[in-house]
Amino acid sequence: MALFFLDSRLNYFAPARVALATVLYPIQIAAAIPSDLSHWMGDFFEDRDQLRNRNNKLESMQLLSGMRLQKLQALERENMRLRELLGSSFRLTERVVVAELLTIDLDPYFQQVVINKGKRDGVFLGQPVLDVSGVMGQVTEVYPFSSRVILLTDPSHGIPIQINRNGLRAVAAGRGLGKPLQLEHLPHNVDVREGDLLVTSGLGGRFPVGYPVGTVKSVHFPEGRPFAEIAIEPTAHLSTSRELLLVLPIESLDNTNEEPEVTVEQANGSE
């Protein structure tokens, strides 16, 4: 019996996992029913005034973001031209697919969620997952009808980031349920301030460049320790988002040799 759990550490059982996951899917669906139902009831009994208010708010938001988008397109074009002048490549904007969270709780010691899109919908291993306000995590296991997403806050997950203000690159590692992320291995003289925005750096090839990851919450330089302690608050609503965006693959990664692929094998968020 001990053999079984030694073996399972070595990934021999991937097909078995897929089969078991398929068997368990109905149970997971059943467990999600109560909260889905309460959501549905909430939608159903929303009165006209509320709906109208929300509609107004959404329309004005749509107007605002449409305006910003116009500007953004011009900027994007300009950026592309400048990059062409510099002779480096430019990635087009990524396409996304919307997936929905299955509202179930998993082991509180792992920061993982299950989503309702699987192999059938073209989900693949390592696919980045976003929500409206930032990066949430990446896909760790793909089953036929569902897949498992590891969140930024999982202790075994690290994401390559850079600071938006000065371009400093680092790895942000998870610390578990409800705790902020931590920037790893930065020396004491590092230029990080509270409130700095961190975006994905695109190193490691998993996450697309330039999506917000978090903001710096506190910076400490403990005496007698080699590295700084920098806590990061994720911008994504990790515990409340229900709709997630799965980023589809961009064109081949070969032409991105402007960035040296170093240091960041941690990005592959282990099992």
Partner: protein, 158 residues
């Protein structure tokens, strides 16, 4: 008796499945660490009540499903569920004689054992939180026991 058998088996499986649903039903984040181990308690009840029906192999399979459900390393819960079921099967005659609170204490130690095994093999940092499910499970054990005994009597599972 003979025609009772398949029905009893279905009821038994149903209780396990309901317990599994209870384990993953969403609750507020702050309470998640204090969730009682429904499946383990159900399994232990059946092991105590019907040791000839619920064996180590059954416990192992339930544990494997739980592993998959909770997303841990495959086999950890399978192993630990089988282990505690073995312990229960060894002592089921004595356990049945014990008063309820004493049973609950035994259950606490077994749930704690499972949690310690789980934390030992997972990347999570061990903290006093391993006690949380054990203590909560102890508190709800009398309810689980009463409900499952009622189910067993009403549906004649034997």
């Amino acid at each position: 008796m003979a025609q009772n058998r398949p029905q009893g088996r279905i009821i038994l499986l149903m209780t396990i499945i309901i317990a599994m649903i209870l384990v993953i039903v969403p609750i507020p984040d702050s309470l998640r660490l204090f969730r009682p181990e429904w499946v383990l308690m159900t399994l232990l009840y059946w092991a105590m009540a019907l040791p000839e029906r619920v064996g180590i192999g059954f416990a192992w399979i339930v544990g494997l499903l739980m592993d998959m459900m909770l997303g841990g390393t495959l086999g950890i819960l399978a192993f630990s569920y089988a282990l505690v079921t073995y312990l229960i099967l060894n002592f089921h005659l004595q356990l049945r004689q014990y008063p309820l609170w004493q049973q609950a204490l035994i259950i606490m130690s077994l749930v704690l054992l499972v949690n310690i095994i789980k934390v030992m093999f997972s990347p999570a940092v061990a903290s006093w939180y391993v006690w949380a499910p054990a203590i909560v499970s102890t508190l709800v054990w009398p309810i689980v026991y009463a409900v499952l005994r009622k189910i067993r009597r009403v549906f004649g599972v034997s």
